[in-house]
Amino acid sequence: MDNNGLTAIEIRGLTKYYGKFLAVDDVDFDVGRGEIFGFLGPNGAGKTTTVMMITTFLEPTAGSIRIHDYELPKESIEARTLMGIVPEESNVYTELTAEGNLRFTGKIYRMSRKDRNKRAKELLDIFGLTEKAHTKVQEFSKGMRRRLTVAMALMHNPKILFLDEPISGLDVQSARYIKKLVRDLNKSGVTIFLTTHQIEVANELCHRVAIIDRGRIATIGTPDELKGSIESVQIVEVSFKTPEDSKIPSLSGINGVNHELRSGSIFRLYTDNPTEVIPSVIDFSREHGLSLKSLNTLGSSLEDVFLKITGQEVGLVTGMYGDEKSPIRKRGKGRMGK
C-alpha cells in the first residue's frame, strides 16, 4: 500500500433520484490513493448507481465528486483518463476479436499505435487470451468475456480501477484469479474501488469497507474495526422444539433484545446484555409452553455487522412478522422529502 495521505476519490453529499425514487441518499466518503475500498451492501442498495456516478456515466442529482485533483463534472474528461471501469455485466463488442476490443479501447483512450499494440499483447498474455486473440468474442464463454472486460479496463493503465461485483457469478477458479489480480494490481499502486454483496469478498480483499443499505452509508471502517464496533453486541441464538414454527410468537418484546431475526424455529436475538436476555428467554418459553432445543451465544463476525445493519442475508429470513417488526424500513416514499 502506498497511501501517502492523498485522496483518490472524494465524495460529498452524493445523491441520486431516479424520478421520485431515491437510490443514493446524501453519501460522503473518501478513498485513499493505493487503497482497496469495498462497497458492501445487499442488492438494490445503490452500489452500481454510486459507481456510475463516480465514473461520470450517470449525472448525480446533488453532491460533489473529486477524482485525484479533478472536480466532476467540470473536469470529467481529464478524470476519465485516470479511471478503468469493469461494469457489473461484461460489455464487450461481440463482433470484434479479443485483440480488436483491446485496440479499439486503446484508440479511444488516445494511446499511440505502438503503445496499443504492446499493451494489447501484454494483457492478452496476462489474461490467458493469447490463443483467442483473433477469435470473435461472440464465441467466448462468460468467464472469458469477464476477463476481457477487465483487460479492457486496464488498457490505458488507470490509476483507479472500479470493479462492480467482480466475483459474483464466477466459478471458483475465476474468482480466485480475479482476487489475486486485484491484490497484484493494488501492490503495483492502483487504487481499487469494488462493490460486492458478498461479505467474504469484502473481508478478504478490502482495506476498508463501507456498508451501504437503501442508498445510505451505514458505517465505514476496516473489516476489523467493523467487527470490533459490535463487540459489545452479542447474539443469543435460540431454537425450539415445536411441530409448527408459525405458532411461536415473536421474541422481540423481551427486555434487552434490540433486534430479532428468525428462520423457522431458530431465532437470533441481538442484544448488548446476554446475561439479562437468557433468563428472560427461559421464562418466555415456559410462559408460552414452548420447549427449548438449544440456547447459544455467538460472537460477532463481519456478517453480523452486515446483518445487524441491513437486516438480511443468508440463512436467516427476516420479515416473517411483516415489515413493521423487521428493521427493514419501507423504501422510497418515506424518505423522499429532504
Binding site: Y18, F57, E59, I77, R80, Y93, E95, R110, M152
Partner: protein, 257 residues
C-alpha cells in the same frame, strides 16, 4: 499536466471519432435492420413510386431521385440502429466514460452513416453513368453535394437514435413515418414547382429538399432553387441535429440508460 494546443486536441478528438466510426462500420455493416431500412426500403420506394410513371422519368432524373433517396434513408438509418444496439449491450457506457466529449462521440457516430451512405450511393451513380450514359454537368459539385447531404441525414439519424429507448423498433417505426412523407414534399416524387403553395412552405423545412436540389444542380446544371442556399442549409441541418442529439443525451445521463 502538459499544456496541449487546441490544434492537437482537435486532431486527437477527430482521431477518436474516426476510431468509433471505423469500429461501427466493421461491426454493423451487415446488420439486418441496417440492410432492411437502409438499402432495401429506398430501392423499393423508388421503384414503386418513381418508376411507375414510366415514360416521363428520364435516366437523368432517375439518378437524381434514386441517389438522393438512398442517401436519405441509408444515412439516417445508421444512427438509430447503431446507437440503440450499443445502448442495449451497454457498450455505449464505455464510449460515454471514455475521455472524449459527447459531441466528438456523436460526430463519430454521424461519420458511420456518411461512409455507409456514400458508398452505397456510388452504385446508382456509376450505373447511371456507365449504362444509361447520363452526363454529369459538374462532378466535383456532385461529390460535394452527396457528402454534405449524407452528413446532415446521418446527423438526423443520430438524433433519432438518441431518444432514450431500448429497442430499435421503437425508434425505427416513428422515424420511418416521419421520413416517408418528406419524399412527397421535397421535390422527389412531385417537382417543387408543381407543389401547392402550403406544401412548398413545408418543403423548406425538409433537409431532403436541399439535398435533392443540390444533386440536381450538379447533374443537370440547373435546379429549382438557389444552389448557394442548398449548400448553406445542409451544414446547418448537420449542426442542428447534432445539437438536438447532445441535448437528448443529457437525459440519458440522468436516466441511466
Amino acid at each position: 499536466m502538459k499544456k496541449v494546443s487546441i490544434w492537437s486536441r482537435t486532431i486527437g478528438a477527430l482521431g477518436q471519432a474516426w476510431a468509433i466510426a471505423v469500429k461501427d462500420l466493421r461491426t454493423y455493416y451487415f446488420n439486418p435492420p441496417m440492410v432492411m431500412f437502409g438499402l432495401i426500403m429506398p430501392v423499393l420506394l423508388f421503384f414503386s413510386f418513381s418508376v411507375r410513371r414510366g415514360t416521363e422519368l428520364s435516366p437523368q432524373l432517375g439518378i437524381i431521385n434514386l441517389s438522393s433517396m438512398i442517401l436519405f434513408f441509408t444515412a439516417s438509418t445508421a444512427g438509430p440502429v447503431i446507437l440503440i444496439l450499443e445502448r442495449r449491450t451497454r457498450t455505449m457506457d464505455r464510449l460515454m466514460t471514455a475521455p472524449l466529449s459527447m459531441s466528438c462521440l456523436l460526430f463519430g457516430k454521424a461519420m458511420v452513416g456518411l461512409v455507409f451512405a456514400v458508398s452505397v450511393d456510388l452504385i446508382p451513380i456509376i450505373i447511371g453513368i456507365t449504362i444509361f450514359k447520363v452526363r454529369i454537368q459538374n462532378p466535383p459539385l456532385l461529390a460535394g453535394a452527396v457528402i454534405l447531404s449524407a452528413m446532415s441525414f446521418s446527423a438526423l439519424g443520430v438524433w433519432f437514435g438518441s431518444f432514450p429507448v431500448r429497442s430499435v423498433g421503437n425508434v425505427m417505426m416513428p422515424s420511418t413515418l416521419l421520413r416517408w412523407p418528406l419524399l412527397f414534399v421535397s421535390g422527389i416524387f412531385i417537382p417543387l414547382s408543381n407543389l401547392p403553395k402550403w406544401v412548398r412552405v413545408v418543403s423548406y423545412i425538409s433537409p431532403l429538399t436541399y439535398a435533392h436540389d443540390a444533386i440536381k444542380h450538379a447533374v443537370t446544371g440547373s435546379g429549382s432553387q438557389s444552389l448557394i442556399l442548398d449548400m448553406m442549409i445542409l451544414p446547418f441541418f448537420l449542426v442542428l441535429f447534432l445539437l438536438l442529439a447532445i441535448r437528448l443525451y443529457r437525459r440519458v445521463r440522468k436516466l441511466g440508460y
